[in-house]
């Protein structure tokens, strides 16, 4: 059996089984995720040994669907599988008390399957499909508690924003297929020139939507309305990662101009959302903003021309961020809230969890020897090697600094002060999942050289350029991270942000944000159409009425003849003998007169015709 199929079908069939059986959802989910994980790992092992696999399915005429396992895709698949499995383990505990486990696990697995399809997709149609399907499943997951206030709008917004941005992907895909004459991703990567620039920019739009890049970052924070495992999954290796993965995979065809734009978008995002994270008063929302910020860093790396660095950070971030979320989930259960001021000191109640959380936080900030350090270092190295070093480097450093800042702030709030917590059920499951992820977050750094080698051997994407010694970026990165941590720990946010704090709290909403820029105009057009619609309807009815009126006129004509003319003649009629005769309508003589006149007209007409022919 093909391993690709295993990686995808295992979670998918688990979904179907859960939906059909409607019992043992957790067990089946774990089983499905685990089998998928095994498949992915074997794929990776095969790829390591230089074996690549491919499945071709019938799709649209002339455009078959492909699934390929190259080193890159196998790696991503493994990443997805690992995170999914661990999150699933955690979710077993987290969802213990929920009554709708069936739906939850089914959707979660569907999501995993879609994500696997996305990373393994070898052609654009399948990629696009998977891309949209993860949108759907994230919609369902975010909207899981659909009866809670705010949830439905959050889910809707997540789907709508990403779908709007997806138009970029659609059009880009069309351009690429048109240009290459094939929907195979590998063969479209040779595209160059104008189409490449256009497609690249469009892909960037799609990626911005999915990876929640400024100015489309708003939805991600709102998406926190969903259950925590969902957040963990969405924010680490899956939904949000899709954008970065897309750009990494298409990196070979991106033109320099596109790369610069990508870098700037990433840089702006990392700073803007970093500031938002710093100002945030809700733990999960803070983590969400941080996700955008980290993906901004990845885009900087892509923009710098070193997608490898982005990939490394993606992997590291996946482990780290899911750990953070899972930790946050435990905190949430113990305090029934995610607001930072309610979570004060929760770390002391859950020291083990807090320890894991803190490790992950430090890893995210980029403290050696945790994994984040290596990936950040790679990104900064990438900016150093870039042509646009003076734009990208400061932005990357600022992002790192901010990361340290908000993580330190969070840790400080969670640790200092005291509070009372309630016991958390299912802690064992949650701990296991969290533990696994934290472990990854800590040790993944060691695997990076191996990964680089693997990808180099596959010659899939460009390697980190080692022309500059690793020393400089390491110093720069570490100092920024430490600086951020110190600032965040010792200074309150009011001091750090000063006047822009309120603005940052509102998420730097420009011009009313999504609502004003997209929703309102769309609704306005819609209402315009509705008005036009009424008008048309009335128009049709009016035409009908006109017909009726004409008919009435015809009848009147019959009744009274060509009134005005004849009336005057008839009025002259002398009425003798004292017998008054009232003139009445419906008189044959008038009708005869009409006939006569009409026939005279006909005669004249006939002669005219005769003369002209």
């Amino acid at each position: 059996m093909n391993l690709i199929a295993v990686a995808i079908l295992a979670p998918l069939s688990a979904t179907l089984l859960i939906m059909l059986l409607r019992r043992f959802p957790a067990t089946l989910a774990l089983l499905g995720a685990a089998i998928g994980l095994v498949g992915s790992l074997e794929l990776l092992a095969n790829a390591y040994n230089g074996l690549s696999q491919e499945i071709i399915l019938p799709g649209l005429p002339g455009m078959p669907l492909r699934l390929v396992a190259t080193p890159l895709t196998a790696l991503l698949s493994t990443l997805v599988a690992v995170v999914c499995t661990l999150v699933m383990v955690y979710a077993v505990g987290y969802m213990k008390k929920d009554r709708e486990q069936v739906r939850f696990f089914a959707t979660l697995l569907l999501f995993a399957a879609a994500m696997q399809t996305l990373v393994l997709a070898g052609d654009w149609i399948l990629l696009l499909s998977a891309w949209e399907l993860i949108g759907l499943s994230s919609y369902l997951l975010i909207g899981f508690w659909y009866r809670k206030p705010g949830v439905k709008s959050a889910a809707m917004r997540a789907f709508l924003v990403t779908r709007s941005a997806d138009l970029g992907l659609y059009v880009a895909v069309f351009i690429l297929i048109t240009n290459a004459g094939s929907s195979d991703i590998a063969s479209t990567l040779n595209t160059s020139g104008g189409p490449a620039i256009a497609a690249g920019l469009l892909l960037l739009i799609a990626a911005m939507g999915k990876s929640a890049q400024t100015p489309l970052h708003d939805w991600l924070q709102r998406a926190m309305a969903g259950p925590t495992p969902v957040s963990a999954l969405l924010h680490s290796a899956t939904l949000v990662a899709a954008g970065a993965i897309l750009l990494i995979r298409t990196a070979p065809m991106l033109a320099p101009e596109t790369l610069l734009v990508i870098g700037i978008v990433g840089g702006v995002t990392t700073v803007v959302t970093g500031l938002i994270a710093l100002a945030e008063s809700d733990l999960k929302r803070m983590l969400a903003a941080s996700t955008s910020s980290q993906y901004g860093l990845m885009l900087i790396a892509v923009g710098a021309g070193v997608p490898m660095a982005a990939l490394l950070h993606l992997i590291a971030h996946a482990a780290i961020k899911s750990s953070l979320f899972l930790g946050a989930g435990v905190f949430q259960h113990s305090r029934d809230s995610t607001m930072l001021d309610k979570l004060q000191g929760v770390g002391r109640n859950q020291p083990k969890i807090f320890f894991g959380f803190a490790l992950a936080a430090l890893a995210l900030a980029g403290i050696p020897p945790l994994s984040g350090f290596f990936s950040k270092d790679a990104i900064i190295a990438a900016t150093l090697s870039s042509d646009h070093i003076w734009i990208l480097l400061p932005l990357a450093l600022a992002g790192t600094l901010l990361t340290g800042g908000y993580m330190a702030r969070a840790l400080r709030i969670l640790w200092l002060k005291n509070g009372t917590s309630q016991p958390v059920s299912g802690l064992a499951w949650m701990g296991t999942g969290l533990g696994g992820l934290v472990l990854l977050a800590v040790i993944l750094g060691a695997a990076f050289p191996g990964l680089e080698l693997l990808l180099e051997s596959a010659l899939n994407i460009r390697l980190t350029e080692n022309t500059i010694t690793r020393f400089i970026p390491e110093i720069l990165g570490l100092s920024a991270a430490l600086g951020g941590l110190l600032l965040g720990w010792f200074f309150p946010v009011q001091v750090l942000l000063g006047p822009i704090l309120p603005w940052a709290k509102r998420g730097f909403v420009v011009a009313g944000g999504f609502d004003n820029l997209m929703v309102r105009p769309a609704l306005a057009i819609a209402h315009g159409c509705e008005k036009l619609e009424r008008l048309l309807y009335k128009g049709v009815l009016a035409t009908g009425r006109l017909g009726l009126r004409l008919g009435k006129a015809a009848r009147r004509n019959d009744e009274s003849g060509i009134d005005g003319m004849i009336f005057s003649f008839v009025r002259g009629t002398v009425n003798l003998g004292g017998k008054a005769r009232t003139l009445q309508n419906g008189l044959i003589h008038k009708e005869l007169a009409i006939s006569t006149i009409a026939s005279a007209v006909i005669l004249v007409f006939m002669f005219i015709v005769l003369l002209t022919y």
Binding site: F569, G572, T573, L576, H589, A593, A600, L603
Partner: protein, 172 residues
């Protein structure tokens, strides 16, 4: 100006004049009589055009017809004698214009159409009648028969319409 021309013109004028008179009197009886004269004048006109059979027939038929008409006039008119000056017309001006326009149009057609060569010879009265008879019983037999059926129909129709049903009276 041949005599024939004169007679044709004279009787034609007479016919038209009496025709006009039909509508210029206030009495229906007088109208009927005027029509009788008009038709008789036409009969005379036919005679002067050497269509003797037709002329005689016209005079005879019209005399009968108009006498019947006069009788009906008396029946239906409130004022058969025309003692009053009751106007029996309406939309007079329009009718006048129409009549005049029709007249002019017909004259124009008569005058300006090239009717082709005038026949030089034509059958004498006896031959005419023979021809007509042959025509009647040969080519135009169907027409002749149709005329007969039409007359039959007119009898049925007229009686059906005019005769008051007996049963109905009993009912009433």
């Amino acid at each position: 100006m041949t005599a024939q021309m004169f007679f044709i013109g004279f009787f034609g004028l007479a016919g038209v004049w009496f025709g006009i008179v039909v509508f210029r009197t206030y009495s229906m009886v007088r109208s009927a009589l005027a029509l009788l004269f008009s038709q008789t004048a036409l009969g005379a006109m036919f005679l002067s055009m050497e269509a003797e059979f037709l002329g005689v027939l016209q005079i005879m038929m019209m005399a009968t017809e108009m006498s019947i008409m006069a009788i009906f006039m008396v029946m239906f008119m409130m004022d058969p004698g025309g003692l009053g000056t009751m106007d029996m017309t309406h939309q007079k001006r329009l009718s006048l214009i129409t009549g005049f326009v029709s007249f002019v149009a017909a004259v124009l057609v008569a005058v300006f159409v090239d009717w082709g060569p005038v026949a030089t010879s034509f059958p004498d009265a006896a031959q005419q009648t023979v021809d007509l008879g042959l025509e009647l019983l040969n080519r135009s037999m169907l027409i002749f028969e149709m005329a007969g059926v039409t007359i039959l129909t007119s009898m049925i129709a007229a009686t059906a319409v005019a005769i008051q049903p007996v049963k109905r009276k009993q009912k009433q």
